[in-house]
């Protein structure tokens, strides 16, 4: 096990990258703590799999270094890195039995037969496949095959990290939940570093201690689920995390006041230095509420009942705005919307601006 350090890492699939656009991964510096459970979250094509393949050694980065502990493994092949990886689609060796499938990585490393048997039995129990051990892997359902893939990923105890590349895509929703919980449990039990790639925020937030949000080849934020929710570092994080995502309004920020283009003023929970560029305020739908007066005029376009709460889709001063209100709260007679000042974040050119006090501290 080891801490994984990415040093000035960048990758381009072109031989001579000219501009930023040619890079699948833009330069980044990150440290992944030993034993952490990380989720790599982002929309399709943002570079998640590229980053994962660089860590596992299936891809050599065009720039920068990868370190496991103190050892530079940039040029080391996958086998030397001692990493396990589970892929999006199940990879099983069809002609082997389930037992042989699970034992395969151990046998290839010349482990002792008694140990292999014990370990395979243990893993089979974890993934709930004990009854299938002597069966051939061919003809099993996608669920079962992916469980075998997961099992094969976890069968080695000494791995530096286990990487998951959207492993639950092919699994039924109810199984998804179960397997995710099992993974989390395994993480607690064995303390392997786990990196889990997904574009599903629920999956990321439930699995990981730390979520790494990627956007356009960049890591835009690395934080706990709470941090991502309360203080998104980038408008993309605000938009991507939460359902629906954060609302953004263009504003002119002076001290602790944000002035909207129409002259309406929104109070902020902290004061900010004057900003240049495109300045926006961001507020989560959960932190907005309907009021009778003292807010901004709100026109409701649509109401969606989602069980525990209601989602209002509407417009404020010509901007789309979503508000989440508790079930049972009346809508009539409350024509305005107000924001919780402390929950408002300020963005300049899409990046979050820290309040003046926070920066001073």
């Amino acid at each position: 096990m080891a801490q994984i350090t990415l040093k000035n890492l960048a990758h381009s699939y072109f031989p001579n990258p000219q501009s930023d656009k040619d890079y699948a991964l833009k330069e980044m510096d990150h440290v992944w703590q030993d034993g952490g459970a990380y989720a790599l979250l982002g929309s399709s094509g943002c570079g998640k799999t590229t980053l994962l393949n660089i860590i596992s050694g299936l891809l050599r980065p065009s720039h920068g270094r990868v370190l496991f502990g103190d050892r530079d493994v940039t040029d080391a092949p996958t086998a030397e890195r001692n990493i396990a990886q589970v892929f999006q689609f199940p990879v099983v060796y069809d002609t082997m039995s389930v037992r042989d499938n699970l034992a395969f990585p151990l046998r290839n490393r010349g482990m002792d037969a008694a140990y292999i048997k014990a370990r395979v039995d243990q893993i089979a129990q974890m993934i709930g496949m004990e009854a299938w051990l002597s069966r051939k892997a061919q003809g099993l359902t996608a669920d079962a095959k992916q469980k075998i893939s997961l099992g094969r990923g976890m069968v080695r105890e000494d791995v530096n990290a286990i990487l998951f590349d959207e492993p639950l895509t092919v699994i039924d929703p109810h199984m998804k939940w179960e397997l995710r919980t099992q993974l989390k449990q395994l993480h607690r039990q064995f303390g392997h570093t786990m990196i889990y790639v997904t574009h599903d925020q629920t999956e990321a937030l439930t699995f990981a201690d730390k979520v790494v949000v990627m956007y356009d080849g960049r890591v835009v934020q690395m934080g706990t689920p709470e941090e991502l929710f309360e203080t998104p570092a980038h408008t993309f994080v605000g938009y991507f995390i939460g359902s629906p995502g954060m609302n953004f309004l263009t504003a002119d920020v002076q001290g602790n006041r944000a002035t909207l283009p129409g002259g309406d003023v929104v109070g902020l929970g902290a004061s900010y230095a004057p900003q240049s560029g495109r300045v926006q305020i961001g507020i989560r739908p959960e932190h907005a509420t309907l009021v009778a007066s003292g807010g901004l005029p709100f026109v409701i376009r649509r109401v969606e009942d989602v069980g525990r709460h209601r989602l209002l889709r509407g417009e404020v001063l010509g901007n789309a705005l979503n508000v989440v209100i508790p079930e049972g709260m009346p809508v009539d007679g409350l024509p305005q919307v107000a924001f919780a000042p402390a929950k408002i974040n300020v963005y300049a050119d899409d990046w979050r601006v820290a309040p003046a006090q926070e920066r001073a501290a």
């Binding site: 596992s56 299936l58 086998a79 002597s134 069966r135 003809g139």
Partner: protein, 295 residues
């Protein structure tokens, strides 16, 4: 629910039946007719019963041709299948060179059989052929016209040249269907090159390999044109395979009765071997899968 019985659908099959009758059944029946009768021309036939079959079954000449034929097919399969797999494994998977290689590989398959025969007939000649002359020049005693072993080598090499591409292309298609993730997983599992072949590539190629073996068996067992052009069945009878022998008998000696009986048995042997082979292979597969399910 009561199922409606309606046999009108059979009429829709009629055109096919008619075509097959004229293209296959009626010509075959002519052969059957000759096999059970003796004729001296003028369309006069005398019933011969199983006489021709009896003669053919006990014919030493046919036994020898059958032996040569079986040996030839065995050698062809033993060389072309492993070689085809090996070539397919080493073909470039994508990019410019994969197209070039594909075209080069397909070329021998596009050459008419008698042209292939002619190419090798000339290629192997010691006076003007590049191969024959070169071998002679470096002191190897090679002459396919009077040495049976040389004749065999020439015919086998020619067939390998002509048909290995087919096996390779089929295997290549099988290999291309393997997702990249399998190779990546194998790397992570630290599988050896042999294990990758044994557990990933070979199982994925099994279906096409079955077809390849079947096609190569049938074709090689019926081979006629190429060896006939190169050696004419000689020297002596050493490269006289079943088809060549059959033509000699039917067209050369005009022994139509024995030749017809021979044809029928020949046809049945190919049909039988192909059927047995196919059934065994597919059942083996099914047995393995269901054996797994039993547990």
């Amino acid at each position: 629910m009561e199922k409606t019985q309606n046999n009108k659908a059979w009429f829709l099959v009629l055109p096919v039946l008619v075509i097959v009758a004229f293209s296959a059944v009626i010509p075959l029946m002519t052969v059957v007719n000759y096999a059970f009768n003796d004729t001296f021309g003028n369309n006069e036939f005398f019933w011969a019963g199983l006489e021709w079959f009896d003669e053919m079954v006990h014919s030493e000449r046919l036994h020898e041709a059958l032996g040569r034929q079986a040996l030839f097919s065995a050698i062809i399969l033993a060389i072309e299948v492993p070689l085809g797999i090996f070539v397919a494994l080493n073909m470039p998977k994508k990019g410019f060179w994969s197209s070039v290689v594909l075209v080069l590989m397909a070329l021998p398959l596009l050459i008419p059989f008698n042209v292939v025969g002619t190419i090798w007939q000339i290629f192997g000649r010691t006076d003007i052929g590049l191969l024959g002359h070169t071998l002679a020049a470096i002191g190897i005693d090679y002459n396919y016209t009077n040495d049976p072993l040389d004749a065999w080598i020439t015919v086998v090499v020619m067939d390998v040249w002509h048909w290995t591409s087919l096996v390779a292309l089929l295997c290549y298609a099988g290999l291309q269907s393997i997702p990249q993730a399998y190779y990546q997983a194998a790397k992570i599992d630290q599988a050896s090159r042999w294990a990758v072949f044994r557990y990933i590539e070979l199982p994925k190629m099994k279906g096409v390999l079955l077809i390849a073996v079947l096609l190569r068996f049938m074709d090689s067992f019926m081979i006629y044109t190429e060896p006939f052009v190169v050696t004419g069945g000689g020297p002596g009878n050493s490269t006289t395979f079943l088809s060549i022998d059959l033509v000699k008998m039917a067209v050369g000696q005009f022994d139509l009765g024995p030749a017809a009986a021979f044809s029928l048995m020949y046809f049945l042997v190919i049909l039988l071997v192909s059927w047995v082979f196919y059934t065994v292979m597919t059942n083996l597969d099914r047995a393995q899968t269901s054996m797994g399910e039993g547990n």
